[in-house]
Symmetry: C2
Subunit: 201 residues, 2 copies
DNA sequence: ACCTGAACACCGTTCAAGT
DNA sequence: ACCTGAACACCGTTCAAGT
Protein backbone atom coordinates (compact mmCIF):
# COMPACT_ATOMS: atom_id res chain seq x y z
CA UNK A 1 0.00 0.00 0.00
CA UNK A 2 2.63 2.52 0.94
CA UNK A 3 2.44 5.58 3.08
CA UNK A 4 -0.70 6.78 4.75
CA UNK A 5 0.50 9.94 6.43
CA UNK A 6 -2.51 9.82 8.67
CA UNK A 7 -0.27 9.57 11.74
CA UNK A 8 3.07 11.03 12.65
CA UNK A 9 5.61 8.51 13.94
CA UNK A 10 5.02 9.73 17.49
CA UNK A 11 1.26 9.36 17.13
CA UNK A 12 1.74 5.87 15.79
CA UNK A 13 3.95 4.93 18.74
CA UNK A 14 1.33 6.26 21.14
CA UNK A 15 -1.41 4.41 19.28
CA UNK A 16 0.52 1.16 19.66
CA UNK A 17 1.18 1.76 23.36
CA UNK A 18 -2.46 2.76 23.99
CA UNK A 19 -3.65 -0.46 22.37
CA UNK A 20 -1.09 -2.59 24.23
CA UNK A 21 -1.99 -0.99 27.55
CA UNK A 22 -5.68 -1.50 27.04
CA UNK A 23 -5.20 -5.17 26.13
CA UNK A 24 -3.08 -5.71 29.24
CA UNK A 25 -5.59 -3.90 31.45
CA UNK A 26 -8.36 -6.13 30.14
CA UNK A 27 -6.61 -9.46 29.73
CA UNK A 28 -3.20 -9.30 31.32
CA UNK A 29 0.15 -9.85 29.66
CA UNK A 30 -0.89 -13.32 28.48
CA UNK A 31 -3.59 -11.75 26.30
CA UNK A 32 -1.17 -9.45 24.50
CA UNK A 33 0.11 -10.14 21.00
CA UNK A 34 1.63 -8.02 18.28
CA UNK A 35 -1.04 -9.19 15.87
CA UNK A 36 -3.83 -8.18 18.24
CA UNK A 37 -2.31 -4.72 18.62
CA UNK A 38 -2.14 -4.48 14.82
CA UNK A 39 -5.79 -5.49 14.47
CA UNK A 40 -6.91 -2.84 16.96
CA UNK A 41 -5.01 0.04 15.43
CA UNK A 42 -5.76 -1.21 11.90
CA UNK A 43 -2.19 -1.40 10.73
CA UNK A 44 -0.30 -4.49 9.64
CA UNK A 45 1.82 -6.41 12.18
CA UNK A 46 4.96 -5.27 10.40
CA UNK A 47 4.27 -1.66 11.31
CA UNK A 48 4.81 -2.40 15.00
CA UNK A 49 8.32 -3.55 14.10
CA UNK A 50 8.98 -0.27 12.30
CA UNK A 51 8.29 1.62 15.53
CA UNK A 52 9.62 -0.77 18.19
CA UNK A 53 12.37 -3.36 18.32
CA UNK A 54 9.99 -6.17 19.20
CA UNK A 55 7.04 -7.00 21.45
CA UNK A 56 9.18 -6.93 24.62
CA UNK A 57 10.18 -3.39 23.73
CA UNK A 58 6.51 -2.41 23.44
CA UNK A 59 5.82 -3.97 26.85
CA UNK A 60 8.79 -2.18 28.37
CA UNK A 61 7.38 1.14 27.16
CA UNK A 62 3.98 0.33 28.68
CA UNK A 63 5.84 -0.42 31.91
CA UNK A 64 7.50 2.96 31.58
CA UNK A 65 4.07 4.60 31.54
CA UNK A 66 3.11 2.62 34.64
CA UNK A 67 6.26 3.69 36.48
CA UNK A 68 5.56 7.31 35.54
CA UNK A 69 1.95 7.06 36.67
CA UNK A 70 2.89 5.49 39.98
CA UNK A 71 5.60 8.06 40.57
CA UNK A 72 3.14 10.87 39.90
CA UNK A 73 0.57 9.46 42.31
CA UNK A 74 3.16 9.12 45.04
CA UNK A 75 4.39 12.66 44.53
CA UNK A 76 0.82 14.02 44.68
CA UNK A 77 0.19 12.22 47.93
CA UNK A 78 3.40 13.54 49.41
CA UNK A 79 2.82 17.19 48.55
CA UNK A 80 -0.83 17.22 49.63
CA UNK A 81 -1.64 17.83 53.27
CA UNK A 82 -2.60 15.03 55.64
CA UNK A 83 -2.56 14.14 59.32
CA UNK A 84 -0.86 10.81 58.80
CA UNK A 85 2.91 10.59 58.56
CA UNK A 86 4.42 10.59 55.05
CA UNK A 87 5.48 6.94 55.38
CA UNK A 88 1.85 5.95 55.91
CA UNK A 89 0.61 8.13 53.08
CA UNK A 90 3.12 6.87 50.55
CA UNK A 91 2.64 3.24 51.59
CA UNK A 92 -1.14 3.43 51.29
CA UNK A 93 -0.86 5.21 47.94
CA UNK A 94 1.37 2.40 46.67
CA UNK A 95 -1.25 -0.14 47.71
CA UNK A 96 -4.09 1.92 46.25
CA UNK A 97 -2.35 2.15 42.88
CA UNK A 98 -1.95 -1.62 42.71
CA UNK A 99 -5.56 -2.18 43.72
CA UNK A 100 -6.90 0.24 41.12
CA UNK A 101 -4.88 -1.08 38.19
CA UNK A 102 -3.79 -4.55 39.29
CA UNK A 103 -2.83 -5.83 35.85
CA UNK A 104 -0.68 -2.83 35.05
CA UNK A 105 1.03 -2.95 38.42
CA UNK A 106 1.52 -6.68 38.07
CA UNK A 107 3.10 -6.19 34.67
CA UNK A 108 6.14 -4.65 36.35
CA UNK A 109 6.85 -7.95 38.07
CA UNK A 110 5.56 -10.62 35.71
CA UNK A 111 7.27 -9.40 32.57
CA UNK A 112 10.80 -10.72 32.12
CA UNK A 113 13.26 -9.88 29.38
CA UNK A 114 14.98 -12.80 27.64
CA UNK A 115 18.05 -13.93 29.53
CA UNK A 116 21.15 -11.83 29.14
CA UNK A 117 19.31 -8.84 27.74
CA UNK A 118 19.77 -5.70 29.78
CA UNK A 119 17.12 -3.25 30.83
CA UNK A 120 17.49 -0.02 28.84
CA UNK A 121 19.00 2.94 30.66
CA UNK A 122 15.81 5.00 30.45
CA UNK A 123 13.96 2.22 32.25
CA UNK A 124 16.53 1.96 35.01
CA UNK A 125 16.36 5.70 35.38
CA UNK A 126 12.61 5.59 35.96
CA UNK A 127 13.06 2.80 38.50
CA UNK A 128 15.61 4.81 40.42
CA UNK A 129 13.37 7.86 40.42
CA UNK A 130 10.55 5.79 41.86
CA UNK A 131 12.52 3.92 44.51
CA UNK A 132 14.30 7.14 45.42
CA UNK A 133 10.96 8.81 45.99
CA UNK A 134 9.79 6.03 48.29
CA UNK A 135 13.00 6.16 50.27
CA UNK A 136 13.05 9.94 50.54
CA UNK A 137 9.48 9.97 51.77
CA UNK A 138 10.18 7.43 54.47
CA UNK A 139 13.76 8.12 55.56
CA UNK A 140 13.11 11.52 57.22
CA UNK A 141 10.80 9.83 59.69
CA UNK A 142 13.77 8.13 61.26
CA UNK A 143 15.60 10.44 63.58
CA UNK A 144 18.46 8.24 64.72
CA UNK A 145 21.44 6.83 62.88
CA UNK A 146 23.49 7.87 59.92
CA UNK A 147 21.97 8.84 56.60
CA UNK A 148 22.94 5.42 55.30
CA UNK A 149 21.26 3.59 58.16
CA UNK A 150 18.11 5.58 57.60
CA UNK A 151 18.21 4.82 53.89
CA UNK A 152 18.51 1.10 54.67
CA UNK A 153 15.54 1.27 57.02
CA UNK A 154 13.51 3.09 54.41
CA UNK A 155 14.30 0.43 51.84
CA UNK A 156 13.39 -2.39 54.18
CA UNK A 157 10.11 -0.72 55.05
CA UNK A 158 9.05 -0.06 51.50
CA UNK A 159 10.05 -3.56 50.41
CA UNK A 160 7.84 -4.81 53.22
CA UNK A 161 4.95 -2.65 52.02
CA UNK A 162 5.55 -4.03 48.55
CA UNK A 163 5.20 -7.55 49.95
CA UNK A 164 1.80 -6.92 51.48
CA UNK A 165 0.72 -5.28 48.24
CA UNK A 166 2.06 -8.20 46.22
CA UNK A 167 0.18 -10.82 48.21
CA UNK A 168 -3.01 -8.75 48.16
CA UNK A 169 -2.83 -8.38 44.38
CA UNK A 170 -1.76 -11.94 43.56
CA UNK A 171 -4.86 -13.84 42.58
CA UNK A 172 -3.37 -16.86 44.31
CA UNK A 173 -3.72 -15.48 47.82
CA UNK A 174 -7.29 -14.33 47.83
CA UNK A 175 -7.28 -14.75 51.59
CA UNK A 176 -5.74 -11.27 51.83
CA UNK A 177 -8.37 -8.76 50.73
CA UNK A 178 -7.46 -5.18 49.89
CA UNK A 179 -9.14 -4.02 53.10
CA UNK A 180 -6.97 -6.44 55.07
CA UNK A 181 -3.99 -5.03 53.21
CA UNK A 182 -4.82 -1.45 54.26
CA UNK A 183 -4.82 -2.50 57.89
CA UNK A 184 -1.75 -4.68 57.52
CA UNK A 185 0.23 -1.82 56.02
CA UNK A 186 -0.97 0.56 58.70
CA UNK A 187 0.10 -1.90 61.40
CA UNK A 188 3.39 -2.68 59.74
CA UNK A 189 4.44 0.93 59.31
CA UNK A 190 3.34 1.89 62.82
CA UNK A 191 5.01 -1.09 64.43
CA UNK A 192 8.18 -0.71 62.44
CA UNK A 193 8.47 2.96 63.36
CA UNK A 194 7.81 2.10 67.01
CA UNK A 195 10.51 -0.56 66.83
CA UNK A 196 13.05 1.94 65.49
CA UNK A 197 12.17 4.41 68.22
CA UNK A 198 12.43 1.74 70.91
CA UNK A 199 15.63 1.67 73.01
CA UNK A 200 18.45 -0.81 72.50
CA UNK A 201 17.43 -1.86 69.01
CA UNK B 1 1.99 -46.38 16.76
CA UNK B 2 -0.10 -47.47 19.68
CA UNK B 3 0.87 -48.52 23.17
CA UNK B 4 4.39 -48.63 24.42
CA UNK B 5 3.89 -49.82 27.96
CA UNK B 6 7.34 -48.62 28.81
CA UNK B 7 5.90 -46.28 31.44
CA UNK B 8 3.01 -46.51 33.84
CA UNK B 9 0.64 -43.54 33.77
CA UNK B 10 2.16 -42.28 37.01
CA UNK B 11 5.68 -42.56 35.63
CA UNK B 12 4.60 -40.70 32.55
CA UNK B 13 3.07 -37.91 34.62
CA UNK B 14 6.31 -37.62 36.60
CA UNK B 15 8.34 -37.63 33.41
CA UNK B 16 6.29 -34.73 32.08
CA UNK B 17 6.59 -32.78 35.33
CA UNK B 18 10.34 -33.46 35.55
CA UNK B 19 10.83 -32.13 32.03
CA UNK B 20 8.61 -29.10 32.64
CA UNK B 21 10.41 -28.28 35.87
CA UNK B 22 13.82 -28.54 34.29
CA UNK B 23 12.82 -26.27 31.40
CA UNK B 24 11.46 -23.69 33.84
CA UNK B 25 14.58 -23.87 36.01
CA UNK B 26 16.74 -23.26 32.96
CA UNK B 27 14.68 -20.81 30.96
CA UNK B 28 11.78 -19.63 33.05
CA UNK B 29 8.09 -19.95 32.28
CA UNK B 30 8.51 -18.16 28.95
CA UNK B 31 10.75 -20.98 27.73
CA UNK B 32 8.17 -23.67 28.45
CA UNK B 33 6.03 -25.25 25.75
CA UNK B 34 4.08 -28.48 25.48
CA UNK B 35 5.97 -29.35 22.34
CA UNK B 36 9.33 -28.87 24.04
CA UNK B 37 8.27 -31.15 26.89
CA UNK B 38 7.20 -33.74 24.31
CA UNK B 39 10.56 -33.51 22.53
CA UNK B 40 12.47 -34.04 25.78
CA UNK B 41 10.52 -37.06 26.93
CA UNK B 42 10.30 -38.42 23.38
CA UNK B 43 6.56 -38.69 23.24
CA UNK B 44 4.19 -36.84 20.95
CA UNK B 45 2.58 -33.57 22.08
CA UNK B 46 -0.79 -35.31 22.24
CA UNK B 47 0.42 -37.56 25.06
CA UNK B 48 0.70 -34.59 27.42
CA UNK B 49 -3.00 -33.97 26.87
CA UNK B 50 -3.78 -37.56 27.79
CA UNK B 51 -2.17 -37.03 31.20
CA UNK B 52 -3.03 -33.39 31.96
CA UNK B 53 -5.88 -31.08 31.06
CA UNK B 54 -3.62 -28.58 29.34
CA UNK B 55 -0.31 -26.76 29.76
CA UNK B 56 -1.60 -24.62 32.63
CA UNK B 57 -2.47 -27.80 34.47
CA UNK B 58 1.09 -29.05 34.00
CA UNK B 59 2.45 -25.75 35.33
CA UNK B 60 0.09 -25.89 38.31
CA UNK B 61 1.46 -29.32 39.20
CA UNK B 62 5.03 -28.04 38.98
CA UNK B 63 3.95 -25.24 41.31
CA UNK B 64 2.57 -27.90 43.62
CA UNK B 65 6.03 -29.46 43.82
CA UNK B 66 7.53 -26.06 44.59
CA UNK B 67 5.02 -25.42 47.38
CA UNK B 68 5.80 -28.87 48.83
CA UNK B 69 9.53 -28.28 48.60
CA UNK B 70 9.28 -24.88 50.26
CA UNK B 71 7.05 -26.24 53.00
CA UNK B 72 9.50 -29.03 53.69
CA UNK B 73 12.44 -26.63 53.92
CA UNK B 74 10.58 -24.42 56.35
CA UNK B 75 9.59 -27.35 58.52
CA UNK B 76 13.18 -28.61 58.63
CA UNK B 77 14.44 -25.21 59.70
CA UNK B 78 11.81 -24.98 62.41
CA UNK B 79 12.48 -28.37 63.98
CA UNK B 80 16.27 -28.04 63.90
CA UNK B 81 17.99 -26.25 66.75
CA UNK B 82 19.24 -22.68 66.45
CA UNK B 83 20.08 -19.65 68.56
CA UNK B 84 18.00 -17.29 66.50
CA UNK B 85 14.27 -16.93 67.11
CA UNK B 86 11.95 -19.03 64.90
CA UNK B 87 10.68 -15.95 63.09
CA UNK B 88 14.22 -15.18 61.95
CA UNK B 89 14.93 -18.76 60.96
CA UNK B 90 11.76 -19.18 58.93
CA UNK B 91 12.17 -15.78 57.26
CA UNK B 92 15.75 -16.46 56.23
CA UNK B 93 14.82 -19.93 55.00
CA UNK B 94 12.10 -18.38 52.82
CA UNK B 95 14.67 -16.01 51.32
CA UNK B 96 17.24 -18.78 50.87
CA UNK B 97 14.75 -20.94 48.99
CA UNK B 98 13.99 -18.14 46.57
CA UNK B 99 17.67 -17.39 46.06
CA UNK B 100 18.56 -21.01 45.37
CA UNK B 101 15.78 -21.68 42.87
CA UNK B 102 14.69 -18.23 41.74
CA UNK B 103 12.81 -19.35 38.65
CA UNK B 104 10.79 -21.97 40.48
CA UNK B 105 9.95 -19.57 43.30
CA UNK B 106 9.07 -16.90 40.78
CA UNK B 107 6.75 -19.31 39.00
CA UNK B 108 4.36 -19.14 41.93
CA UNK B 109 3.80 -15.46 41.24
CA UNK B 110 4.25 -15.03 37.51
CA UNK B 111 1.94 -17.82 36.41
CA UNK B 112 -1.71 -16.79 36.09
CA UNK B 113 -4.65 -18.95 35.20
CA UNK B 114 -6.98 -17.67 32.47
CA UNK B 115 -9.58 -15.31 33.87
CA UNK B 116 -12.50 -16.88 35.67
CA UNK B 117 -10.80 -20.24 36.12
CA UNK B 118 -10.48 -21.30 39.74
CA UNK B 119 -7.44 -22.74 41.44
CA UNK B 120 -8.01 -26.45 42.12
CA UNK B 121 -8.77 -27.41 45.71
CA UNK B 122 -5.55 -29.42 46.12
CA UNK B 123 -3.57 -26.30 45.20
CA UNK B 124 -5.41 -24.09 47.67
CA UNK B 125 -4.83 -26.75 50.30
CA UNK B 126 -1.07 -26.64 49.74
CA UNK B 127 -1.13 -22.84 49.93
CA UNK B 128 -2.96 -22.93 53.24
CA UNK B 129 -0.53 -25.47 54.64
CA UNK B 130 2.35 -23.22 53.70
CA UNK B 131 0.95 -19.91 54.91
CA UNK B 132 -0.27 -21.65 58.05
CA UNK B 133 3.24 -22.87 58.74
CA UNK B 134 4.68 -19.37 58.37
CA UNK B 135 2.09 -17.93 60.67
CA UNK B 136 2.44 -20.64 63.28
CA UNK B 137 6.18 -20.21 63.35
CA UNK B 138 5.95 -16.48 63.85
CA UNK B 139 2.82 -15.98 65.96
CA UNK B 140 4.16 -17.58 69.20
CA UNK B 141 6.85 -14.92 69.37
CA UNK B 142 4.22 -12.35 70.13
CA UNK B 143 3.23 -12.45 73.75
CA UNK B 144 0.54 -9.79 73.88
CA UNK B 145 -2.89 -9.61 72.38
CA UNK B 146 -5.50 -12.10 71.37
CA UNK B 147 -4.77 -15.11 69.19
CA UNK B 148 -6.31 -13.23 66.30
CA UNK B 149 -4.16 -10.16 66.82
CA UNK B 150 -1.09 -12.34 66.91
CA UNK B 151 -2.16 -14.11 63.73
CA UNK B 152 -2.60 -10.73 62.03
CA UNK B 153 0.85 -9.65 63.11
CA UNK B 154 2.33 -12.90 61.87
CA UNK B 155 0.71 -12.42 58.48
CA UNK B 156 1.90 -8.85 58.18
CA UNK B 157 5.44 -9.87 59.09
CA UNK B 158 5.64 -12.74 56.64
CA UNK B 159 4.10 -10.66 53.87
CA UNK B 160 6.81 -8.11 54.58
CA UNK B 161 9.50 -10.80 54.38
CA UNK B 162 7.96 -11.89 51.10
CA UNK B 163 8.31 -8.33 49.81
CA UNK B 164 12.03 -8.14 50.48
CA UNK B 165 12.42 -11.56 48.90
CA UNK B 166 10.38 -10.49 45.90
CA UNK B 167 12.45 -7.39 45.23
CA UNK B 168 15.71 -9.30 45.72
CA UNK B 169 14.62 -11.97 43.23
CA UNK B 170 13.09 -9.65 40.64
CA UNK B 171 15.67 -9.11 37.95
CA UNK B 172 14.39 -5.58 37.68
CA UNK B 173 15.69 -4.45 41.04
CA UNK B 174 19.23 -5.68 40.91
CA UNK B 175 20.14 -2.93 43.35
CA UNK B 176 19.01 -5.26 46.13
CA UNK B 177 21.51 -8.13 46.30
CA UNK B 178 20.76 -11.34 48.19
CA UNK B 179 23.27 -10.30 50.86
CA UNK B 180 21.42 -7.01 51.28
CA UNK B 181 18.23 -9.02 51.55
CA UNK B 182 19.59 -11.15 54.39
CA UNK B 183 20.40 -8.02 56.38
CA UNK B 184 17.14 -6.32 55.46
CA UNK B 185 15.12 -9.28 56.67
CA UNK B 186 17.14 -9.50 59.86
CA UNK B 187 16.55 -5.80 60.51
CA UNK B 188 12.89 -5.96 59.61
CA UNK B 189 12.10 -8.91 61.85
CA UNK B 190 14.11 -7.50 64.76
CA UNK B 191 12.63 -4.04 64.44
CA UNK B 192 9.10 -5.31 64.01
CA UNK B 193 9.39 -7.50 67.11
CA UNK B 194 10.84 -4.57 69.04
CA UNK B 195 7.94 -2.43 67.87
CA UNK B 196 5.41 -4.94 69.12
CA UNK B 197 7.15 -5.16 72.48
CA UNK B 198 7.35 -1.37 72.79
CA UNK B 199 4.79 0.32 75.04
CA UNK B 200 1.72 2.17 73.80
CA UNK B 201 1.75 0.69 70.28
C1' DA C 1 -5.86 -49.15 25.64
C1' DC C 2 -2.50 -46.21 24.50
C1' DC C 3 -0.20 -43.17 21.60
C1' DT C 4 0.42 -40.73 17.34
C1' DG C 5 0.69 -37.06 14.13
C1' DA C 6 -1.87 -34.38 10.99
C1' DA C 7 -4.83 -30.55 11.25
C1' DC C 8 -6.55 -26.03 12.84
C1' DA C 9 -6.09 -21.67 14.55
C1' DC C 10 -3.12 -19.11 16.37
C1' DC C 11 1.85 -16.74 17.45
C1' DG C 12 6.64 -13.32 16.70
C1' DT C 13 9.40 -11.55 13.37
C1' DT C 14 11.46 -10.37 8.78
C1' DC C 15 11.83 -8.25 4.49
C1' DA C 16 11.01 -7.96 -0.58
C1' DA C 17 7.78 -5.56 -2.96
C1' DG C 18 4.42 -2.11 -3.62
C1' DT C 19 2.78 2.98 -3.69
C1' DA D 1 9.47 7.08 2.88
C1' DC D 2 6.19 4.36 4.71
C1' DC D 3 3.57 0.39 5.06
C1' DT D 4 2.17 -4.13 3.64
C1' DG D 5 1.44 -8.98 3.68
C1' DA D 6 3.40 -13.24 2.47
C1' DA D 7 6.67 -16.29 4.40
C1' DC D 8 9.12 -18.89 8.02
C1' DA D 9 9.48 -21.12 12.19
C1' DC D 10 7.25 -21.65 15.86
C1' DC D 11 2.93 -22.33 19.35
C1' DG D 12 -1.59 -24.99 22.15
C1' DT D 13 -4.90 -28.25 21.51
C1' DT D 14 -7.91 -31.85 19.38
C1' DC D 15 -9.09 -36.17 17.67
C1' DA D 16 -9.50 -39.73 13.95
C1' DA D 17 -6.70 -43.35 12.95
C1' DG D 18 -3.32 -46.72 13.86
C1' DT D 19 -1.28 -50.78 16.65
Amino acid sequence: MGRRSTHTPQQLRDLILDAAQSIIEAQGLAGLSAREIARRIEYSPGTIYNMFQNLDDVVLHVEGRVLDGLDQRLSEVLTSAGDKPPAQRVAQAYLAFSTQTPRLWNLLFEHHLPQSTQLPAWYQQKLETLTGRMEQAIAPEFTDGTAETRRDSARALWAAVHGITSLATADKLTSVTSQDAVRMIDDLVTTYLAGLAAPKH
